[in-house]
């Protein structure tokens, strides 16, 4: 068994930042990650990092924009902490050598971005995330922080007190992909989950194949509530065959969306008569899908994004990287033909409930990055706000876990922060198939930390042996079915019957999952086994998203409900919380905090 | 690691079909360089007959030159030397950072020019056997 003060699970932007912060606070920190750090999906981010650096800009403006973008579902303490810390974090990155794009005078450039009242997006060419990821990994190498790579964390080692808020997290259990061994990792101070987004819950996503949302599912099963999971951002322009993102830049420069009849759909069918192609991500995504649903899609699947009329010169000058993307990943020459695009899952706003210090309601368990929900993005995330989130809250979680000196958090976590009980609608069946066999870890209350980890190792060993040695169905079909039903029923359009259908399908998948097994018997680099175990997590998250979507009866941010076409502030200024409750999920609500150092008055949406 | 598979040298030799121009240039340069050193040593050895007297030297050299095989080898030596010189110049440019984008073309050019020079020199070399 390995032992460290702080364990960071996941080595994307959030994990790396957390590890550096914990190390700087004097802790012995190690990272445990499924992929080698530089393979993390943070590297895919293109656009930029928002921070109020300019003297004429201010953190207050950034906080205000973020709150507005969240459709007033952000919590003010989180939003303000974020806006205040972001500039320092960006400068810190610069001091670590990040190759930001520069102005003539040698300072870091900032550009305008959707939803921002001031040009405050710093960037490094069209590959900001790549540089951010590599710069921070370099700092991890510099500090000699231990990295256990290609270790898939399977579950957390948490005591099993009845009351979630009494539980303690003592470590994690991981599967060593190369050797097939199960490894126990004990953390004396804290475990930080930074496992990134859950894009693989949907069959079409801009997320990586490794983004199976393991962190959400592990925290959820350990008892931490998932918050606002129904808020999923879909990006309107992704390539149909792979989900690779075509940035807003194309539409910004004047790219036009056409349907199969070669009509300029945004105007022809009145989806956005003012903004046309430049309407917000949600509006365009819904427009495209409506076209496809009404039979005007191309090959019943996508629409065309055309930039040919911009002329070769302008395209080469401003959008060259887009030409490469279309060519390399779709085999289409953007100078010659229109590019096929369709909406794809892009970002999960909700996540593991944490406070401003990244702490969950379980002692010693933290979360940061996309997997966490401090409630910064609320109902919708602004472009360029995720990367600074990784930095700000990654650093805070790391420092706090290492025992650094920090202010008490204002955000309340755990079931005790409940304001109102919710009810999972009748007729749907959620949670464990046989609740009861799903207890967290053995006898935590009574035994010492080492034993809690050991017994979890034991359980995971049994599970892996079973999956390897027994015969069963292949997980791929189960995963596929979840992805299909989520895309068909829980994407940008949400109708009650569809949501219920999805829950039915998820239930069935859960049943089928009981019979899965890996068909590859090898213990060496068994990706079949890895994916089989991930599929379990996908099922849990799919269910949480769908339950949230069914519960929230309003139209807010990215969450659209057919029957409720209004934002209903009087009733729904609250977070949807879903707690696993040892296999019998419990739905409840927690109020939104609109008052921090400043007060944020909900304003009319205007798109 | 418990079991990894090292495909070893066998594989390397099997890969020649997949070589890039720059790798061929390297192989040829190496080969020609070795031939030239080999020749340098032989050359001095042959010339060493000069220490054994005038007649021996002249006879040895002329005797050798009468053999067709020696003439053919000389053409070979010429081609090797010309290629090594041309590619050597190409490499010197590469070292100075010029024309790196066209390194493959300059390699082909070296080959073509070598061939041309060699073909043009054949009559001279084979004259009077």
């Amino acid at each position: 068994m390995h032992e460290h003060d702080v364990l960071v699970v996941g080595a994307g932007g959030a994990g790396l930042r957390a590890a550096i912060a914990a190390h700087e606070a004097g802790a012995d920190v190690a990272m445990v990650t499924k992929l080698h750090p530089v393979r993390s999906h943070t590297g895919a981010a293109e656009g930029g990092i928002n921070a109020a650096l300019h003297p004429e800009d201010s953190w207050e403006l950034h906080a205000y924009d973020t709150m507005k973008g969240s459709d007033y579902l952000g919590d003010a303490p989180a939003v303000e902490t974020f806006a205040q810390d972001a500039p320092d974090e960006v400068i810190q990155l610069e001091h670590w050598g990040m190759p930001f794009s520069r102005e003539e005078d040698g300072t870091v450039s900032q550009r305008p971005f959707g939803g921002l009242s001031h040009p405050r997006t710093t960037y490094a060419g069209a590959e900001t995330g790549h540089h951010l990821l590599h710069t921070m990994y370099e700092q991890v190498v510099k500090r000699g922080i231990t990295v256990y790579e290609e270790q898939q964390v399977l579950d957390l080692a948490v005591t099993d007190h009845d009351d979630v808020e009494d539980r303690e997290c003592h470590g994690v259990v991981a599967y060593d992909i190369a050797s097939g061994e199960i490894q126990g990792y004990r953390a004396t101070n804290g475990v930080i989950l930074a496992t990134g987004g859950p894009g693989q819950v949907f069959d079409h996503t801009t997320n990586a194949v490794a983004n199976t949302g393991d962190g959400y599912a592990m925290a959820y099963r350990a008892g931490v509530p998932l918050e606002d999971m129904e808020f999923v951002q879909f990006h309107p322009t992704t390539l149909p065959s792979t989900g690779v993102l075509i940035s807003e830049g194309v539409r910004g420069e004047g790219g036009i969306l056409y349907n199969d009849n070669e009509e300029r759909l945004m105007f022809e069918y009145g989806y956005a008569n003012n903004d046309g192609e430049l309407a917000s991500r949600d509006v365009v995504s819904r427009a495209e899908l409506t076209e496809v649903n009404e039979g005007r899609g191309i090959e019943d699947e996508y629409v065309h994004l055309d930039m040919r009329h911009l002329g070769e010169e302008r395209i080469l000058d401003r959008l060259e990287n887009i030409l490469h993307l279309a060519e390399d990943f779709e085999g289409v020459d953007g100078l010659d033909e229109p590019m096929p695009v369709k909406p794809g899952q892009h970002y999960q706003m909700g996540g593991v409930e944490v406070d401003e210090n990244g702490h969950t309601c379980i002692d010693g368990l933290y979360a940061a990055g996309e997997v966490a929900c401090v409630s910064l993005h609320g109902g919708n995330r602004l472009g360029g706000n995720a990367l600074p989130e990784l930095l700000v809250f990654g650093a805070r979680a790391g420092k706090h876990a290492a025992g650094g000196d920090m202010k008490e958090a204002e955000i309340q976590t755990g079931p005790s922060a409940e304001s109102e009980a919710g009810e999972i609608p009748d007729g749907v069946d959620v949670g464990a198939v046989d609740a009861g066999s799903e207890s967290v870890a053995a006898d935590g209350a009574a035994v010492d930390a080492g034993t809690v980890v050991e017994s979890e190792v034991q359980r995971q060993q049994e599970r892996v042996d079973h999956l390897l040695e027994d015969e069963g169905v292949n997980h791929a079909q189960v995963r596929d079915d979840i992805q299909q039903t989520m895309t068909a029923n829980v994407n940008v359009f949400r109708r009650e019957e569809n949501l219920k259908d999805a829950l039915g399908d998820i239930r069935e998948a859960r049943e089928r999952y009981r019979h899965v097994a890996a068909s590859d018997p090898s213990r060496t680099y068994n990706t079949d086994l890895m994916h089989t175990m991930e599929t379990r997590n996908i099922i849990d998250i799919a269910e949480a998203i769908t339950v949230g979507a069914l519960a929230r009866e309003e139209f807010r941010g990215a969450h659209w409900r057919e029957q409720y076409q209004e934002r209903r502030d009087d009733e729904w200024l609250k977070h949807t919380m879903l707690a696993w409750s040892d296999g019998n999920p419990r739905l409840y609500y927690k109020p939104v905090l609109l008052e921090g150092e400043k007060e944020y008055e909900p304003k009319e949406r205007s798109y | 690691m418990s079991g990894t598979y090292d495909r070893g040298a066998v594989e390397d030799f099997g890969r020649w079909r997949e070589f890039q121009p720059g790798m061929w240039a390297w192989i040829f340069h190496k080969f020609t360089g070795w031939v030239l050193v080999g020749y340098l040593f032989t050359h001095i050895a042959v010339l060493s007959t000069a220490t054994g007297g005038e007649v021996l030297y002249t006879n040895t050299l002329q005797g050798l030159e009468e053999l067709l095989i020696v003439r053919v080898l000389e053409v070979g030596l010429l081609s090797v030397a010309v290629f090594h010189i041309l590619n050597g110049v190409r490499l010197l440019f590469v070292d100075l950072g010029f024309g790196l984008e066209n390194q493959d073309k300059s390699f082909y050019a070296s080959l073509v020019v070598t061939a041309a020079i060699v073909v043009a020199s054949v009559p001279t070399f084979l004259a009077g056997v």
Binding site: - | G33, V37, L40, A50, E54, T58, I85, G128
Partner: protein, 121 residues
Amino acid sequence: MAQHYSSFERGGVKWLFQRLTAVFLVGVLAFHFFLLHFVNHAAEITFAGTQARMSQVGYFATMWLFLVTATFHGVNGVYNALVNQGLSGTRKKAVGAVLALASIALIVQGTRVALAMTNLL
């Protein structure tokens, strides 16, 4: 990692010399080939002709330098090639020694031959 080396102990000097000798050799080798195959046909070489050429100081000096640079260039090239193929440790030292001895022998013998070709001795 703080100390600085002012000498080329790391391969740089040999790298540079390999290039400098190459530049020199381009000229001389071309000249040599041209002179002994095109101007004077190889088949017509006689000791007398050789002696006449070698007795000129300038020609003698050039040929001797040709010998030395070519030896360095060629032998160093061979040595590098072997090292690049992973020669290391004692074997590398041994090969280095053998090659150095061979070069010295070559240069000594070459010098003797060259001197024998002149009418100075």
